[in-house]
Symmetry: C2
Subunit: 197 residues, 2 copies
Amino acid sequence: MAHPNLTAFLTSSNEIDKQTIASLIERCTVKKVKKDEFLLRENENCKYSFFVEDGLLREYSIDKKGKEHILSFAPEGWIVTDRESVYFNQPSANYIQALENSTVILLDEQFFASLAKKVPRFVDINNRLLHNHIRHLKKRIKLLLSAAAEDRYLAFINMYPAIVNRVPQTMIASYLGITPESLSRIRKELVNKKFNS
Amino acid sequence: MAHPNLTAFLTSSNEIDKQTIASLIERCTVKKVKKDEFLLRENENCKYSFFVEDGLLREYSIDKKGKEHILSFAPEGWIVTDRESVYFNQPSANYIQALENSTVILLDEQFFASLAKKVPRFVDINNRLLHNHIRHLKKRIKLLLSAAAEDRYLAFINMYPAIVNRVPQTMIASYLGITPESLSRIRKELVNKKFNS
């Protein structure tokens, strides 16, 4: 089957059958991007949800002082997009870039409209996806407000087990809102704890 | 008209007429809560979206060390709820409490189901509300990751102009993820800038 990861993602709730998905995915554009290549830049209108069939993307912004802030990572099986830019049809304030050579499926409004037409329960599925997204964002806010750097790092490993060793430490530190030096110290402490327990 | 703020909120997009709203609100429970009273406590399942007709609420959590973190404020005209708890029918990790004597309208699933039935475009309206919520959460994450404390405070004033003088400074500092001392310093600097400009 073509695009096994996207098919698995969309059929995971057993509410959409594989035949329907296959016919819809057929019409999507599949894009191969090289490491460091961009799928979205600041001030562009984001037109797609990017499904990562293979590889690794990151979404980030650059602040007034020129500092990068990682908003999310998307390894294989994940979707990344600037939802606000797509939904409100506004220029994005973010970048989406490949961190590895990747295969990405571009899901446009047409794709979701066809899905909604073919699958009556798509409204509910979409609603659940949005609520999951909200849950994830609120969790991140709580971590940023309250958690010690070590707890933030452990939550990160828990959420992104597949990528801890695939992205530079500076980017993980940026995602966590801590300095690379703090991250390095935390990692050493965790190793020590492991050996002493 | 009874409950002018909720009526205004629901009819603001001109997609729902006032008659429909009035008949639906009639069936909702209106609750008067005193300052400091709770509408939701940790480990309770949240059953409602709380619309603030009059007064001021806050949503907050308490971390492992017993420290409070303000997740949001809700003055008159705002809705506050633990969406995850309502939607996934799970115990909440948060508290919702009145900061002033308040009049709150309890919107339950039944209310939204009736609304969806009477207003076919409610699916789209709800979708827009969810996207607005996501936009707001992502903005907050960016502010927490990147912005200097002064920028965070200015964004706060911009979002909540009606409440700056109604909540204790310690709570504003908690919302911003900074110490009360930093907030006090920022406020003084802003006053000085104003007098010197």
